[in-house]
Symmetry: C2
Subunit: 380 residues, 2 copies
Amino acid sequence: MSKSNSLRPGKHLLQIPGPTNIPDRVLRAMSYPTIDHRGPDFAEITKRVLDRIKSIFKTTQPVIMFPASGTGAWEAAIVNTLNPKDKILMFETGQFSFLWAEQAKKLSLEVDFVPGDWRHGADPKIVEQKLSQDKSHKIKAVLVLHNETATGVVSNISKIRKAMDSAKHPALLLVDTISSLASIDYRHDEWKVDVTVGGSQKGLLLPPGLSFNAISQKALDAHSRSTMQKAYWDWKPMLENNKNGFFPYTPATNLVFGLDEALNMLMEEGLENVFKRHTKLAEAARIAVKAWGLEILAKNPEEYSNTITAVLLPEGHDADNLRKIILDDYNMSLGMGLNKIKGKVFRIGHLGDFNELMLLGALAGVEMNGADVEDIVLLL
Amino acid sequence: MSKSNSLRPGKHLLQIPGPTNIPDRVLRAMSYPTIDHRGPDFAEITKRVLDRIKSIFKTTQPVIMFPASGTGAWEAAIVNTLNPKDKILMFETGQFSFLWAEQAKKLSLEVDFVPGDWRHGADPKIVEQKLSQDKSHKIKAVLVLHNETATGVVSNISKIRKAMDSAKHPALLLVDTISSLASIDYRHDEWKVDVTVGGSQKGLLLPPGLSFNAISQKALDAHSRSTMQKAYWDWKPMLENNKNGFFPYTPATNLVFGLDEALNMLMEEGLENVFKRHTKLAEAARIAVKAWGLEILAKNPEEYSNTITAVLLPEGHDADNLRKIILDDYNMSLGMGLNKIKGKVFRIGHLGDFNELMLLGALAGVEMNGADVEDIVLLL
């Protein structure tokens, strides 16, 4: 099948922050013929997948999956736990925090959106301060992105949890892990997260189209009191049907086949080894960026992302032009700068099914970008 | 990859009313490596797919697709065109009409649900009567399933349109074509349908995970006045992004690859030939059911479905037991009776990538069911 008018020989390097390079084993599993989603074989796969994925979130509590993008699982986290016009606390860490906040507003919520410079994570001190001041408990939830996909900045969820506990505030904690799950250490139960939002297309090694909510008991209690309008995203029929391996509506069968195989792969490698691999490759990427004399967008080394490195270009250079040249000449996709940082940064995704020589190829592609164009400085 | 503990040699016959047997060409297309959903190649595919799919709906107006099941596209049709607590008119044609009505109630709508016996389609006379009586135009939309997947009964959308026109009533017409699209003739523009809901996993030859709204200008006007809460399902950012081949959130890339190939196949065969093939195979299935001395659930031959035949078993026979035997002994899945007709009917899906010898195999599987069990009559 022709994907494009422009044939580019050799394997494409998909170094955006997701979707990621899909393992052949997963692509093959997805091309297994579709089966009856109400039959015994599919029920068995569903139960196996929903049981095994818990370990990826480090939880013993329910995880559910939607046939939807991550944006859908964001919406599910909100409409299942909150009430119309509730106040929530969010942090401007980058484009995806902005989009989640915009979604919350569309869903009638009042968002206290703490401004940020797109170079830092959510600040636990501000969480503690805001919640301590909120004596009447008007803030119903704190929404944070574990890893801001737009900037490559990690927020410290453990510290945010401690800040919430110090403030003795009952707000729910909702965390997006779309670009960190199965790549950067994350602990749903230990950090007492109420809803963790996940997506299929990054560390989970799948194409987009599945998304997840890991759910705490406190979130389930909130659900029972929530009056927000919901149908497709409603947890209740999902949890009831999942018990027997079924769904309230047709699941994305072939992505579930792929997930079954992706879980096999993650478990064969071992989740802690997956984290170590991402740490090592991310450190190598950052060393290269520094060797190029360029600046990493993330200001604080403790907040460096092990899945994504956003690289600032010097004034006067257009990152989108750089990305276009690299795509056209070297068959590699890099992530673009979004919104406030459009054209100013490019992002290297170093996550998922990824290894040393893929990274070195990716870094070489960036280095070679300037070899045959005038307006880009040869960086080495 | 092992799908089950029970190995069943030979090819599985997936004769449920959907998901359907997926063509190998589509399975292979879906296993093409995932690419950048914001890059130029994917934009080209998106534009090509969204342009070509219009002919499947017989429309020149916009068609949008969601990374979601058909149930999601139902929700989108409602929340984009209606207002909270609006009154709508629906017909109890079977389980899926019931589920759509339940969803509408969850979304705050008042449903005038005309009772039915699950053996007939929506009655155009009642549409005309109800709308004529509604002088103050309280009814804002008529929601009908073109093909009721639970019963194999087709509602005549052309006649329903005429009834609405005769009543000179401004209600919107929302039609579900999940189990008829690309299988039974359907005309979004000619029948002045305002929103047509489609799904990927039936006549469109794909696994589940994509769903569609084909949209009229009247529906777009209603959207601009609609105050229903919406975020994920909102048409506006979808239509804006689609213009350039993009989406407001991550699309289900590999299902879109599959859709591109499925459209190639449907166009190679020719849509009118696809309809003729479904008509012929459905007629053959019905002749067999009658030869068995069994009753087709659909009462009115003019409402017979060319995609699904639901077969009534004689009193005292359990259709689910029959289905289990056929699955275990002959490696074929049939559709179950849902809700009110559970255990009383089985459903033969004869749609999608399907031909004469597959049908004859399916019919033989039903005939052979009784050969080695006591409680099932050998039907021939």
